[in-house]
Amino acid sequence: MAEAKDLFKEFKVQSVSEFFRRNAAMLGYTGKIRSLTTIIHEAVTNSLDACEEAGILPTIRVEIEELGKEHYKVIVEDNGPGIPEEYIPHVFGKMLAGTKAHRNIQSRGQQGIGISGAVMFAQITTGKPTRVITSTGGEIVEAWVKIDVQKNEGKIVKKVKHPNPKGWRGTRIEMEVKDVKYVRSRQGVYWYLKLTAIANPHAYIELVEPDGKLVVFPRSSEEIPKPPVEMKPHPKGVMVDDVYTMAHRSKRSSVKRFLVSEFSRISEKKIEELIKYVAAIRLLKSEQNEEIKEKLREKLINGDVDSVLRSFGRKWKKEVEKVAKIMEKPPEKLTWQEAEEIVEAFKLMKFLAPPTHGLRPIGEENIKRGLTGILKPEFVTAVTRSPKVYAGGIPFQVEVGLAYGGQISGSEILRYANRVPLLFDAGSCVITSAVRSIDWKRYKIDSFDSAPLVVLVNVISVHVPYTSTGKQSIADIEEIYNEIRLALMDAARKLALYLGGKYRRMYQIKRRKTLEKYLPEIARSLHILTGEPEEKIREYFLKLIESKIEVEEVESVEVEEAEA
């Protein structure tokens, strides 16, 4: 038996690291460049979220030291609220905690296991614990954290406390990782931080690259975004697994109470409707005649649940009673099959659109600030659309920003989901196809590929429909595609207006220069012909040019005019 127990233990150990390996793609740890980016992403996201919740303007420093071939030390330090000592193992060690998985919240992460994945990655590749130095303002705690794969939780292997005379507050984590590579590519850390800085203009981010070079992404906004609020899930946006898991965790007295209080837009009356629908679905399944089945199904889709039920004669009342009983039992007794039926009914039923107050766009002003601060363009504009729903009930919102000219040299599409830069799988992303579908020529951009134009698109949702578990590209959903296009066209119109004005101004300046350069010749000739003094003639013509050709002051007005 002891042997078996050991074996089981062994099996468990393997399974956690096995899980990590098997789900490396989902967790973002595939490829040497991407793994490093994911580590930085997890750490920076934690910092940004923590600062946001604490109402602190984030200052984040990222350092990457090269220790050997594909061997780096990663340091991320923030000025956030710090982590209370007792939470350290939880934050850095809890694998598969699923803290975010069942919170219906628009979050940056959504990558599942967060920073603990990074700790795990370091542990797997180098065997070394992650060093955490943090303070909430009191003494400074220095801790070395490892993940106890058996208990699936963090374990502090060593802890030292230091006095904190200067009242430092924040968190610094240091980890050693192997099998990663620092490259200044479109998928690398530099690019990730740059895009993060653009979408988070309230953050100051600096990066020390392996060669010692310091890159600063300055703060361009003093406004701390409000943290997102948790929203109850909308019946249209849930899957069987969600309903099942939620029900089993729920402390409500009945399935009915659970549904009414833990979902949005479900009322007592809706439960009665739900019962009828579930009953109808059951009855429909028992129907043998395919033709009738199809007809009834159509009726059901059209919302005529009562006539569907009645068509089954006396049977229906019994069925409805049966289903009603489900609603009265404790939620933890809900079976998978019942959850399935409920979700199927949800799909057929009509609900009010979900509340959108949980969505947190970057905002037009902040997009403009972010793009201006990091890219130094000559023109920026941004559009934040009002929230919409897709798949019948999942709220989402689209915002875009355009930055043109200035220090921008080529075209670029910056993709974001909930403010998080998407660096991979651009080709399959709805953002890419929407941007490409725009007829840029109509907006005075002759060739999108060679224009000095950066297009930022942020898709915000509590449930971003990614194409794959890698969460790096957004699925081609018509509602989202159309919203991106509408937002882009709206912003592009402003750009076209600006470019029109710019060309007009450039034309006026050119026109004036052209005319002025001929003045000496004209004055000399007219002097010969009329005998009037050359100087005077020149003055007349100069006044004429000034009165007829107005040229606004260039640099300063442009951005403001574009904003108007």
Binding site: Y518, L529, Y540
Partner: protein
């Protein structure tokens, strides 16, 4: 018919002061507009066939009243605006100093870099020539009156006394080469005229033939050799000899569309210089030959030449001479019955006849028989 000098209809009218005044008036207009904050402009009569018409009353090709307005404040016009003023100033100096310049000299004299730029006032002569033409049209003044001379071509021979500046001479005492007509004939005066008419001859070879045969002396006429299409100087000279001196004008060209067009230019003016027709053309001029009828009349069938190009009824036609003939058939100033007949005959026979084909008879034939006969008998085309 005996040709005689008639009463003159125009007087010698060249007055440099008039040209200067016109230039200065225009300059003042521009300056006043600029002073009062208006956009200064030049009104330039439009060039080209669509601003040209045949005036039935004066029987001249004339310029229409289409204008294009050239504004200073228009970037597309500004350069030409400047160029116009530069050349106006230059012409003022030329005229007031009594100097003449060729088109090319006018170009070089005014070509320089615009201060503070890498741009030249004139990049090419093709920029200055049209401005001078524009000025002619704007001011109604000949380029020659503005002391800008054209290429010279053509000469005269005959018993008239010419006063050219300080020189005075008889054009029949300069040897068989005659007197080469200068680019500008505005200032030329004719103190003495002892001829009855002017014979304008297309080719120098034919003019030389006539001079050698003492035709001018015998027939008491002045020979004007155009040497191809008549130059502006020659056309102006012909005009002046007719209107200021009352001399009848007889034109003698090859019997082909090209020769006939030379005649038409002398008589009606040309499309390019339609705005100058009143000063260059001589609608009273008559045509002595060669005609298609001459071929029959003088048995010249064996010395005709085939017209060049493809006839209109053949594939790809009409081209070359045929094309020119068809154009002439359609010009309003070739609608005269006699001319339509000649043109149609040429088209029908597909031949042309040169002046010098008359040498087929004998060298003297043209001087002793052909011309005297035709002129005496009034066998002239209108």
């Amino acid at each position: 018919m005996k040709l005689k000098r008639q009463k003159p209809k125009e007087k010698f009218s060249y007055d440099p002061q008039k040209v200067l005044k016109k230039l200065e008036d225009l300059a003042w207009k521009i300056l006043e507009e600029a002073k009062s904050g208006k956009n200064p402009y030049f009104d330039v009569p439009t060039r080209g066939l669509n601003n040209v018409y045949f005036d039935e009353e004066s029987r001249l090709i004339r310029l229409g009243d289409r204008l294009s307005r050239r504004y200073f404040l228009n970037v597309a016009h500004a350069r030409k605006f400047m160029q116009t003023l530069i050349l106006m100033a230059y012409i003022k100096r030329l005229v007031s100093e009594g100097k003449h310049a060729s088109l090319r000299e006018a170009y070089y004299a005014n070509k320089h870099t615009v201060p503070g730029t890498r741009e030249n006032t004139f990049e090419d002569q093709s920029e200055s020539d049209p401005i001078i033409e524009d000025l002619e049209r704007m001011l109604g003044v000949l380029r020659e009156e503005m002391h800008i001379t054209a290429d010279r071509r053509g000469y005269i021979y005959g018993d008239i006394v010419i006063k050219d500046g300080e020189d005075e001479f008889n054009a029949s005492k300069l040897g068989t080469g005659g007197w080469a007509v200068p680019g500008t004939v505005e200032h030329i005066q004719f103190p003495e005229i002892n001829v009855d008419y002017v014979l304008v001859v297309e080719t120098a070879a034919m003019a030389d033939r006539l001079i050698e045969e003492k035709y001018p002396k015998r027939e008491n006429c002045l020979i004007v050799a155009t040497q191809g299409q008549a130059s502006r100087g020659v056309r102006r000279l012909i005009h002046r000899l007719h209107y200021e001196e009352g001399l009848p004008i007889i034109v003698f060209t090859d019997g082909d569309p090209y020769g006939w067009y030379i005649y038409s230019t002398i008589k009606r003016g040309s499309i390019n210089l339609a705005y100058l027709s009143e000063k260059l053309a001589t609608p009273d001029a008559k045509f002595v030959g060669m005609t298609m009828d001459d071929i029959k009349e003088y048995n010249l069938e064996n010395v005709t030449e085939k017209l060049k190009g493809i006839p209109p009824d053949k594939k790809g036609g009409p081209t070359g001479d045929y094309k020119r003939l068809i154009e002439e058939l359609n010009y309003p100033w070739f609608q005269d019955k006699e001319w339509q007949r000649q043109l149609k005959l040429a088209l029908k026979w597909g031949v042309r006849i040169e002046q010098q084909a008359l040498a087929n008879k004998s060298l003297e034939f043209v001087a002793k028989e052909y011309l005297p006969e035709k002129i005496r008998e009034g066998k002239l085309l209108p």
